[in-house]
Amino acid sequence: MLDYLKSNRREMIAALVLIVLLAVYLGTHPRGASTYVMTIWANQCLILGLAACAQFFAVVVRGIDLSVGAVMALSNCVASYLLDGSAFGIAIGMVAVVVVGALCGLINGLVVVYGRIQPIVATLATASIFVGIALLLRPTPGGAVNYDLADAMTLDVLGIPTAMVIAGVAVIGFWLPFRRTGLGLGLYALGSSEQAAFQSGINTKFIRLAAFTLAGLFGGLAGLFYSFVTTTGDAGIAASFTLNSIAAVVLGGVLLRGGVGSLIGALAGAFILKTIAALMFFSGIPSLAQPLFEGLILAAAIAIGGADVLRARNKLEAFS
């Protein structure tokens, strides 16, 4: 148990910070810890959480994905056309939305792997393309998403916010098993040292392609969930989510140099970021001063996460 905590200390610190922030938030909310309040909070957190998962897959292989927000915008606009009508049509539509996201990711991967272009440049370019297509689909916000489905996804199951259930499924149903597969280990190998991974016989091209495709897939999921929350398509949502997804993974203990961190950390980082924003809500801090306070809390949270560098007897340990 202690070993487990030690080897996952980054996630543990993030989780601890999250619990403290959530307690403060529920403490200051006039309504307190009710299902409704938890649902509002969880919906906000999960949108960014899924975007952070997308960013995680790009970052863990020592890349970065500046198109996360753009993939969300595109899949959100596609969803606004497909998620209304018959139950069967909607089911196909949901799959199609996620496939659109995954295809965007695959395109990113192909450009990075076979175009040999730095991820930061490649995804910056593809982001403009994705937003461009989204704008063609929805020049102004509009469209509709089936309200019953939207309610089912954004309210609660037996008092537990559906968004939390989805986050749980992503972790227990997907991440924990996935991490033990060859592909899951390959991500870390590639992110830690591409040369070593290559010499160990890992197909680095395939792993990188898979990582970017997974990033796109989670971007698509984020866009899909955004559609459930807003029940409409809007091409203008890209900007804020890309940068926040990067902040969230850093906050969740995922190192931008690759090879370190986990999906759980990325989710926790996103939840922390959104809880800080929610905390401002009933704090009574003037709105123009809120970005300052958010920034200060963010800096403090990252500093706590990085504090174990100070304990290191040898500076090289920090890079091990």
């Binding site: 309040v37 203008g236 809500f281």
Partner: protein, 359 residues
């Protein structure tokens, strides 16, 4: 908008057409063919919130100040238990979460400027269940389920065009139209309003330029239009009219009738140069009217579903320093400090005494 029109047609068919027996129709004037809405009366004092989206321009800042000035007036302060303003930025999910939070916190009414006209259907239903009154204004929604406060953008456009044509005695050869941000419903409706008047003038040549509602852009495009077209009989401008006036002055264009916006600087120029015409605009004090409407609904009064407020306007001969424009205030100050039909407009001191922060 199509949806809105359609829904108002349906509302008309269901025989609940708004008559003059709604609450204070001189202020909360019904839009043509709209239905009416009322809720069971609640005892005050009330908890009310204003959930703004974007906060980065003069209009929005003055809207927040107007809302606070309204809440600070003694006759309103008595009715309010708590009044909160938040600005959530340009993201619809964040605005939905903010509204949900206030519903959860037991607020009686929430006014807001919608980030997105189609994203609020589920939150409207949650508000209905919780008994919270929602009053969107300015950027209104594609819905017929809540009371919405706005000015008729078509009437605003038509007013400017009609005024200049009246001054010209109904005859003109060439008129310049300075439009707003393209691809936007507000720009479209204002333009349609202007066209509805100008199209009926025989032999009128209408020159249109895109001014983006911006003073600098307007100045440039009007200068270009003057260079290529020479002289105009009149000019109508949606917003950023100070730029149009400056460009005409620079080109040595004679003074002609103009329909312009309601910025302080525009009225200063109008008065200084003796430009005949009308100054009218979407007034930021609309935020206060939305709060007034929220309280009226909470007290059990009936209001039209779509309210088109009487457009605050000043004809050039009625311009008076210190009354409807303020030479010692910044040019960017919006003279839309209130709707005289609803309550005494705010004085600039009342507005400027309010911080643009949350309360």
């Amino acid at each position: 908008m199509k949806k809105l029109l359609l829904s108002s047609v349906i509302a008309m068919a269901s025989s609940s057409v708004a008559f003059a027996d709604t609450y204070r129709p001189e202020c909360f004037a019904p839009a043509p063919g709209t239905s009416t809405i009322s809720y069971d009366a609640k005892d005050g004092p009330y908890k009310i919130a204003f959930v703004n989206g974007f906060a980065g321009n003069d209009w929005r800042i003055q809207a927040i100040q107007s809302a606070k000035a309204w809440a600070a007036r003694p006759e309103n302060a008595d009715k309010i238990d708590e009044f909160t303003v938040v600005s959530v930025g340009n993201e619809s999910a964040a605005q939905i979460a903010a509204i949900d939070n206030f519903i959860a916190a037991g607020y009686d009414a929430i006014t807001f400027i919608a980030v997105n006209p189609t994203a609020f259907e589920p939150v409207i239903r949650r508000a209905e269940r919780a008994g919270t009154v929602l009053v969107p204004f300015d950027n209104v929604l594609d819905t017929d389920k809540v009371v919405q406060i706005n000015e008729s953008q078509k009437d605003l456009g038509a007013l400017k065009a009609q005024t200049v044509m009246d001054i010209l005695g109904g005859e003109a050869d060439k008129i310049l139209m300075v439009n707003g941000l393209p691809g936007n419903a507000t720009d479209r409706d204002r333009r349609l309003g202007m066209m509805s008047v100008l199209e009926n003038v025989d032999g009128l040549e209408i020159v249109e330029v895109v001014g983006n509602w911006d003073t600098g852009t307007s100045q440039k495009v009007v200068a270009d239009a003057l260079a290529t077209h020479g002289q105009f009989d009149a000019v109508v401008s949606q917003h950023g009219s100070a730029g149009s006036i400056n460009a005409m002055q620079d080109a040595g264009h004679p003074i002609v009738p103009m329909g312009v916006d309601g910025e302080n600087g525009v009225r200063m120029l109008m008065s200084e140069l003796g430009i005949p015409g009308v100054s009218a605009s979407q007034a930021p004090a609309m935020s206060a009217i939305a709060l007034e409407a929220a309280v009226a609904l909470l007290e059990g009064n009936e209001l039209p579903q779509t309210v088109f407020l009487p457009i605050p306007q000043v004809k050039s001969d009625a311009l008076e320093a210190g009354v409807n424009y303020f030479p010692d205030l910044p040019k960017s100050f919006n003279t839309g400090t209130g709707y005289a039909e609803c309550f005494t407009p705010f004085t600039p001191e009342e507005l400027l005494g309010q911080s643009p922060d949350d309360s």
